[in-house]
């Protein structure tokens, strides 16, 4: 095997996928798991056949036994040490993803139900929602007003990534406003819509 054989195997594999994908795109199903598996298997068989053909006249090489020298053992030690250091570096990088400081936040939304396609027939409904982007559980206080009158208040606690959602009945021309307060936070988040 030539030294650069691996290079051609890898490079040609990528090239065959890039070009073969164009052919798959012409099929009705396009690029699916099945079509990729079948085409890759076919390409591998073709490559195997080509290899056999190219090597048909080449005499089999005699297997040579090689002794591992002391220098090679030392080199192997260096390689292992380098791999250990690189592995530590990779571990540190992956672990440090969790160290990234990010201020928490809460998402508040109020949208007419018809915004999201096929969310029900209710032209007179809105969706009020909250999602916590804090790492720890946080207590929230939510107030919903129709014009100036309060029509609902909710107190709830959400863990990080957890959502709260409520369907709200609306009438045409009414203005709805929701205000969210997070415990211990001075700011108030506000959303508002006018039903049509």
């Amino acid at each position: 095997m030539r030294r650069d054989t691996w290079l051609w195997i890898a490079g040609l594999s990528l090239a065959v996928i890039a070009l073969g994908g164009l052919m798959l795109d012409l099929t009705p199903d396009g690029q699916t798991r099945l079509s990729w598996i079948i085409s890759m298997a076919g390409a591998a068989l073709l490559a195997l056949a080509a290899t056999v053909w190219l090597r048909r006249r080449r005499p089999p090489s005699a297997g040579a036994t090689r002794r591992i020298t002391a220098r090679q053992r030392i080199l192997a030690g260096y390689v292992l040490a380098a791999l250990a250091v690189a592995g530590t570096a990779i571990g540190l990088a992956v672990a440090s993803v969790g160290w990234q400081h990010s201020p928490g936040f809460a998402q508040l939304w109020l949208v007419p139900s018809r915004i999201a396609a096929a969310r029900g027939p209710a032209a007179s409904q809105a969706t009020l929602g909250v999602r916590s982007g804090y790492t720890d559980p946080e207590a929230f206080h939510l107030v919903l007003r129709r014009g100036t009158s309060t029509i609902g208040t909710w107190n709830f606690t959400l863990a990080g990534g957890q959502s709260w959602q409520q369907a709200i009945a609306t009438q045409a021309g009414q203005h709805l406003t929701a205000q969210l307060t997070t415990a211990g936070q001075p700011s108030v988040q506000t959303v508002g819509i006018t039903s049509s």
Binding site: L7, A18, V85, L92, V94, S96
Partner: protein
């Protein structure tokens, strides 16, 4: 090298944990030094360098540098181009068909090579797109540098030139990050490099007596790799065509008729594939590249007529130390190239490939001028250096491996004490190592990421990678699930990227007029209507911080006050018909009149 990688990983980790100050910035540079200098020392201090050692050093260097890119964002794609291709790959996986459109980078959907390879891997193995992307980009990165090594090695006949050439190439401003990201150029470069190797073998077929099968093999490989380059990345395929034409022309001039015909056939194949692809599949490429070509043309005309527009860059130039490193690296290369040319002329003037590489290196002077004389010259020169650095690296490597090594290891006076000889050599090698470090540091200073986000973790409003926060990602994810895909949404730069990728929206990032005035005017309403804007996103952090990247929107040349006064951004609360449908503290989304009813 591994120790350098560890130091850089520690510096990045410190950046992410919020403690990345000057000390950790210095640690980053120390890491780069520890990674690079031992390699340089090894190459310059040994008079004998075997093939195996050269290959191992080249591959180790490429792997170490790819690890640095991986450490920058080990959990998700954050580079703008990566987000664009990540979204395109998700689109392909969902639709199973190509050319489905990409809101962020429309032209990329007509060059689907990268997405095809990654989506095939995802389809067959079930691994996440991020992991598949890392594997594909990493493999491509490795293949490209290996291909370069083979070209340098075979053209020069010397493993030392091969590995020195690769070591110089990695100092190219975009090698460490931009050419290693999950982007179509990364894979295109791998095909480009392999196509060059195949073309070199085709060229040399004439001088061997190998059989038909051998000849067919290299022709088939060359044509397949040229085709793969064409369907993967536009500019890389043009560079490949230009390189093949140059090699063919020089071969013809040096009377290698058979070789030059082979190369001309390959160049013609490449040009015809490009023409066919652009005409039939990717006509949008013309419109995409036209502004850059205009800029390039104007810059070149300016240089040739000595009426250059005083330069500058699209993004700020950076600290003085960065600029000095960049200029020093440029000066070193400009000084070194004539020595390489002299050496090529002296020892390889009959080798068409060596001559062509020497000729190609001359383009470096043009790019250096372009950088300082054209408004967006830094961007153009940076992109061009990815290709021009190949002949530059070869030419400099020839100079270093020839007269350079002789100079480093000369023994002046007979009878001089051996310790004095060794000390003199060590001093000269140290000096050469400093020069090599200057090249590396200059490349990093001119390269990516820019200075304000060299360590990850610090938030910079509308900075490229540094503008991406969990809050922005959450807003985009909410838009996808609640508003549905494909809405036209006006936004700033960072949220443009996030809305177009995580949000699957059709964002518009250059409507700065809507944000940069104290009141909502009839003109604003008309603009929003003509742009079919249904939602408008406001990131209130634009009122708290200046943008280090030169602007808040995709068109960074706009004259928006910095920071933008808060009342400019909160004016939308009082615009009749606007509904404030989303608020996450810093990010607010408004629905414009008719947003709910639009199809």
């Amino acid at each position: 090298m591994a120790a350098g990688v560890l130091v850089i990983s520690a510096a990045y980790a410190a950046g992410r944990s919020g403690s990345g100050g000057p000390v950790w910035s210095a640690a980053y540079w120390l890491g780069e030094t520890v990674l690079f200098v031992p390699l340089v020392w090894r190459l310059l201090s040994r008079l004998r360098l075997g093939e195996t050692e050269a290959v191992v050093l080249t591959l180790s260097l490429a792997i170490a540098i790819y690890l640095i890119k991986f450490f920058y964002s080990p959990a998700a794609f954050v580079f703008p181009d990566e987000l664009e291709h990540w979204q395109a790959t998700n689109g392909l996986l969902a639709s199973h068909h190509l050319f489905g459109g990409n809101f962020l980078l429309p032209v990329s959907s007509t060059y689907p090579g990268l997405e095809e390879v990654a989506s095939a891997l995802v389809s067959v193995t079930g691994m996440p797109v991020f992991v598949a992307g890392l594997l594909v980009a990493g493999l491509a990165h490795l293949l490209f540098i290996t291909a370069l090594y083979i070209v340098f090695r075979e053209v020069s006949g010397s493993p030392r030139v091969g590995v020195i050439g690769c070591a110089i190439y990695v100092t190219n401003p975009h090698y460490q990050v931009f050419d290693a990201i999950y982007g179509y150029q990364t894979l295109g470069l791998a095909f480009f490099g392999l196509a060059l190797v195949a073309a070199l073998r085709v060229y040399r077929l004439g001088s061997t007596s190998r059989g038909v099968a051998h000849q067919v093999r290299w022709w088939v490989l060359a044509v397949v790799l040229i085709a793969a380059t064409v369907v993967t990345h536009h500019v890389t395929s043009y560079a490949l065509a230009a390189a093949l034409l140059l090699f063919a022309a020089v071969a013809a001039a040096t009377a290698r008729t058979r070789g030059s015909i082979s190369l001309a056939v390959l160049a013609g194949t490449c040009v015809s594939f490009i023409a066919g692809w652009v005409a039939l599949v990717a006509p949008s490429t013309v419109g995409y590249l036209t502004p850059a070509l205009h800029s390039l043309k104007n810059g070149l005309v300016g240089i040739l007529t000595a009426h250059a527009t005083p330069g500058g860059t699209a993004t700020p130039a950076g600290p003085v130390a960065d600029q000095l490193a960049g200029y020093a690296a440029t000066a070193l290369i400009m000084t070194g190239l004539p020595f390489g040319w002299w050496q090529i002329w002296r020892t390889q003037r009959r080798d068409a490939w060596a001559l062509a590489l020497g000729l190609g290196a001359a383009a470096y002077y043009l790019l250096a001028l372009l950088r300082v004389t054209t408004p967006d010259g830094a961007e153009l020169a940076g992109r061009g250096l990815t290709f021009v650095y190949i002949p530059v690296s070869y030419t400099l490597a020839v100079a270093i491996a020839g007269p350079g090594m002789a100079l480093l290891h000369r023994k002046r006076r007979a009878g001089r004490a051996s310790w004095a000889i060794r000390a003199g050599q060590a001093a000269r090698i140290s000096l050469a190592s400093v020069a090599a470090l200057t090249l590396l540091f200059g490349g990093i200073a001119y390269g990516w990421p820019p200075y304000w986000e060299r360590l990850p973790g610090r938030y910079v409003v509308d900075g490229f990678e540094s503008g991406i926060t969990p809050e922005g990602i959450a807003a985009a994810t909410w838009a996808r699930s609640t508003l549905g895909p494909g809405n036209r949404i006006a936004t700033d730069y960072t949220n443009y990227l996030l809305m177009g990728s995580y949000g699957d929206q059709n964002p518009v990032g250059n409507l700065d007029e809507l944000y940069c005035s104290p009141s909502w005017t009839v003109g604003d309403a008309t603009l929003a209507r003509t742009q079919a804007i249904r939602y408008l996103l406001v990131d209130l952090r634009m009122s708290q911080h200046r943008s280090l990247s030169g602007g808040y929107f995709t068109d960074r040349s706009t004259a928006c006050p910095a920071p933008i006064p808060k009342q400019y951004l909160t004016k939308f609360d009082t615009v009749p018909g606007f509904s404030r449908v989303y608020d996450s503290g810093n990010i607010v989304i408004y629905a414009l009149p008719g947003a709910y009813h639009a199809p």
